[in-house]
Amino acid sequence: MAALHVRQAGPGVAVQDLGRTGFLSKGLTRGGAVDRLAVHEGAALLRQNPDLAVLEMVGTGGTFEATEDMRIALTGAEMTAHIDGAAVAWNASHALAKSSVLNIGPTRTGTYGYLHVGGGFDTKLMLGSRATHQSCGLGDLVTADDTLQVGADRGGDAGLTLPRDTRFDGGSIRIVPSMQTSDFAQETRESFEATTFRRDPRANRQGIRMDSDGDGFATPKALSIVSEVIVPGDIQITGDGTPFVLMAESQTTGGYPRIGTVLSCDLPRVAQAPAGAALRFQFVSLEEGAAIEARARAAWAALPKAVTPLVRDPATLQDLLSYQLIGGVVSATDAPLDKG
């Protein structure tokens, strides 16, 4: 069976998939990859099922050696990537020959990078999923000397790419009203929408803190709110008025009021915003939200059609910055020797 041998791994590398459902009543949240779009992109690049397990990498990746020929894909936050020392493109699939070494270095944009393999990672199923949920004792971070088994690959092309998405530098996030939105004063909701937030460095798979100047967004009703169900994307307002967007590994219930809920299709943008990136939240009605979400799902499902062969991608050029791309432009229609 094919496997990736881990020579070295960054501090936040873990096997994830789309998570486990059916355990809300037991106090266990879905978990799984925080950027679900990246999981779908990887599946599209490898022409396989998005349910297959992937590696999620925060900050930096690691060094991996293939025990057999295999296909890989790289999605999500762009990281430096080399196969046997040669730079390879992000957001693309590649052949990784037996004994080749894949090195994934620091993040260039965004926060969460993903490594996919043809056939998916075949780690042990835990409660119906391969998703690592560390705080619950389900799975462990990937560390040096681990061997990650790879499932049977139905085979297919490598050297494919997808257009780069824009979700890696913050931006506008659509939210729908939720169960406690009306517990916030109208002016608090308006000021929340009008505020440009900065993603705080304090962020993890449970939640992401949003910073802003000003008084915060507290509601006096917070003190009397009974602990209530949490869904991914809920924006809870803590006692001092600070918003936290709750992510894949949040608790199943919480006592802080929720001002709104980020649409699932916009959650990857929140997840990928690097520390300091500007984010704004915009309310849409439940009906509009449903329509936006339905369109996004159709687009995610159509990703395989957007895959194109990887040709002359500048990202494959080693040391891109050393190329002189601006000055000395040679025009096809202008013969420079004619001048002067």
Binding site: K26, G27, L28, M179, S224, V226, V229, Q251, A290
Partner: protein, 258 residues
Amino acid sequence: MAQASNVHAMTTLSTYSPKVRSVGLDGVLVTFGDTATDEANRAAIAFRSAVDAQGWSEVSESSSTLVSAFFRIDLAEHRFEQLSDRLQSVLATRDWFAASLPEGRALWTVPAVFGGARAPQFDEAAEAAGLSKVDALRDLTSTRLRVLTLGFAPGQPYLGTLGDAWNIPRQKELTLNVPAGALVAAVRQICLFAKDTPTGWRHVGQSAFACFRPRGDTPFPLAPGDEIQFADISAVELSRIEDTVTNGSGGAIRTELA
């Protein structure tokens, strides 16, 4: 720690009019009270069970919290108004505050140490409750507590409801690490910790009961509506259980509730 403030003793059935609300595009919440009362919790458990029994295709899964039943429904695909109407019509079929709890629940007898080095805040909790140690121990071991909800950590029960005396506030300062299996008290509830946890609740007892057994056949032994009665044991007996019982049960005995 989950909030469960404003617990009131109520002698009459609630006149609260249940609320049906959307939760993001992820589901519908039916709430039976503004405060964490025993009957709101019973109503939530009974209502969830009744809707589950109808097997709606739109419902992917359901859960219950202290005062609400939650139905996970994809609201990008199903209109909230329609689901809300259907839930309202189920609500109208009866007085859910008077509903009996669903069948198939279990009674657990869980051995635990109260006080001493293994449960160092028992004395101070008794004092905060205005009870002698004897009376406090009697309350904690003679009251059949119901699993109000599971949450905060997988499989972790919030148990209620103790008498009014136990409406003791959480401490302002967190205790940095209370071990798994601990019984902690606040706001008329006991929480039985699934894992080591910093908390503002007071550490009154210690069991060897594992609330989450990810590698066993029954990863989540407890369900909302189950009942727990604690049996007072010595620290020596707890050590013996810890050394000899390896299946996570901590020496607890499960019986079906008729």
